[in-house]
Amino acid sequence: MSAGKISSQAMRSLGRYRLRASLMMLGIVVGIASLAVLSSLGEATKRETMQRFKNMIGTFDTIIVRPGGGRTRGMPTLVNVPPTLRFEDAKAIASELPEIKAVAEVQNAFDIDIKYRDRSSSPAVFGVSPNWLALRSEDVADGIFFSAEQNDSLTRVAVLGLDVRNQLFSSEDALGKAIRIADVPFQVIGLLKSRGAGPAGASLDNVVLIPINTASRRLFNRDFLTMLIAQVRNPERSDEATARVTALLRERHHIQPPALDDFTITNPAVTAAQVARAGGTLTKILTGVSVMALLIGGIVIMSLMSVAVSERRKEIGVRRAVGAARSDVVQQFLLEAIFIALAGGIAGVVIGWGGMQLVTRLQQLPPILIWQPFAVAIGLSLAVGMTSGLYPAWKASRVDPIQALRS
């Protein structure tokens, strides 16, 4: 009659056939556990990828302009870019376009020899404009960052990343010390905060920052930029800003259609999202596999339960004789299937949760607390239980009580 009483009968039936019930659960447990692990791992990886991009770029409200048209690969440096992007371009973008809040100029090179007494290191050296830290809303860990005056007067000062500091100074105090960058003497005035790993997993702390004018005239002797980073005023409308920057640079570089741009503009937020999505392909395939496992789990429930119906004909006959309508029998068997799938789902979630903690620890991902995949998993097992219970329940309701009771 009432659903409560029928469900209690369903529960008791499952209790009576514990072994069978746990067998029926198995497929669901495996399916749900792997599904939960994979989907939350996929989500975690995605977040981690975005975070690493953010580590590298600083903020997502910027667009990056590099010299050279077409698709450029890897990090631009002074040795691999054409000398087309000028200081004046950066100044023009900053002053003429209202969409742009600030522009940072960059001139960088890799593997530059740096020495402090007998110790050496070969980090990336970045000549950057003094607004660099502010644009990335960062701060130094210790000391100070160089000022606009120091940049204008070509002062030889350097701010060190954590890795460089550790290599050159280990436990010694670095501030105020003199180092040699490609044999040019510089004074250490500040230390950067650690930025962790970039998208490729390499450390972002193996870096030295110096004023860009000093870099241009006293170190590299180059008067073009490897990169400029423009901070847009309204990140929602970065496409518009990109178009404006493109138009301005084409005009300044005297490029007429159909000639292509001699620069490339990328939007880090978009790129990061693409990379994160690409990384999800494997996860998607594996998720498909666990959905298959879940389906098989459903089929297992259906077939074992159909066999059980044949075995339990007498019970069904008794229930019918003492007053169970066909619909009551349907309800009981459906509920049994649902309870099994739900129990399997919950067990799967518990195991999946444990497995996820283990994997994140092994993969050295930050610990994640994502509940959505687990909610979806529970909902899925509910649906599987309902579908797989339909046929056995129908079959049970068709048992003829007269034959069942006399056999």
């Binding site: 209690s8 019970e315 008794v318 229930r319 019918r320 007053g323 169970a324 309508a325």
Partner: protein
């Protein structure tokens, strides 16, 4: 109580034609009667019991149980009727395996309004002298005990009619006697009982005896003075 008029039941047996298990059987049973239906196997007595028990509709004829015209009832209404008005006792006991005596007795209460009343189930077990065995599984009980649990189950919803199908058929003499004694007590208390058997000794307990042969009622006689001792 029971008013069956010109009931027929035809079973279709594949291509070889059909079998008429009951032919125009008319039957009136008053409240408080203890009716024994006898007949050889194949005489139609089981079919009659199934129809009277609302498990199987007649092919033709009308059937009123306790004033309700059952003919047009659907599955749900019939189930409700069985639950409220009929208590079944079967030859093979038909207790649920891996289930305690008490839980077996409770099952009819699952399918009626209200709660499953454990105290009531215990009282019913007490009534058949098995209160001490309440938590035993069906398989741990002797045949006689199992049948007494089945009697308690048949009684639990206070049915108007108790239908017993060869209740002693699978029991030894002593257990059979105990079960019959129980049924006689219930009769004395006012229950209406219809019992199907082919056993003369069991038939002797009834206050009225109907004999079926080939789907027809061939005799229907009321006995003067119920022999409470019966023939067992």
């Amino acid at each position: 109580m029971i008013e069956a008029q010109r009931i027929s039941k035809t079973f279709v047996r594949g291509e070889s034609g059909s079998v008429e298990a009951l032919k125009n059987v008319s039957l009136r049973i008053a409240p408080g009667e203890f009716v024994v239906v006898r007949g050889a196997s194949g005489s139609g007595k089981s079919t009659l019991l199934d129809i009277l028990g609302c498990l199987d509709p007649p092919t033709r004829g009308s059937y009123r149980l306790d004033g309700e015209d059952v003919a047009r009832y659907d599955d749900k209404q019939l189930s409700r009727l069985r639950n409220a008005k009929i208590g079944f006792i079967f030859q093979s006991f038909n207790l649920l395996p891996r289930t305690t005596a008490l839980e077996n007795v409770e099952i009819p209460m699952v399918y009626r309004q209200g709660k499953v009343d454990r105290k009531k189930a215990l009282a019913a077990l007490e009534r058949v002298g098995l209160a001490a065995r309440a938590s035993h599984f069906a398989t741990e009980l002797s045949g006689g005990e199992q049948q007494r649990v089945a009697v308690a189950r048949a009684l639990i919803n206070s049915p108007a009619l108790i239908l017993a199908d060869e209740p002693t058929g699978n029991l030894d003499l002593n257990s059979g006697r105990e079960v019959m004694r129980l049924l006689c007590d219930l009769h004395t208390e006012g229950h209406t009982i219809l019992l199907v058997t082919h056993d003369d000794a069991v038939a002797a307990y009834g206050s009225r005896e109907i004999l079926l042969r080939d789907g027809l009622v061939v005799s229907d006689e009321v006995r003067a003075g119920t022999p409470a001792g019966g023939g067992l």
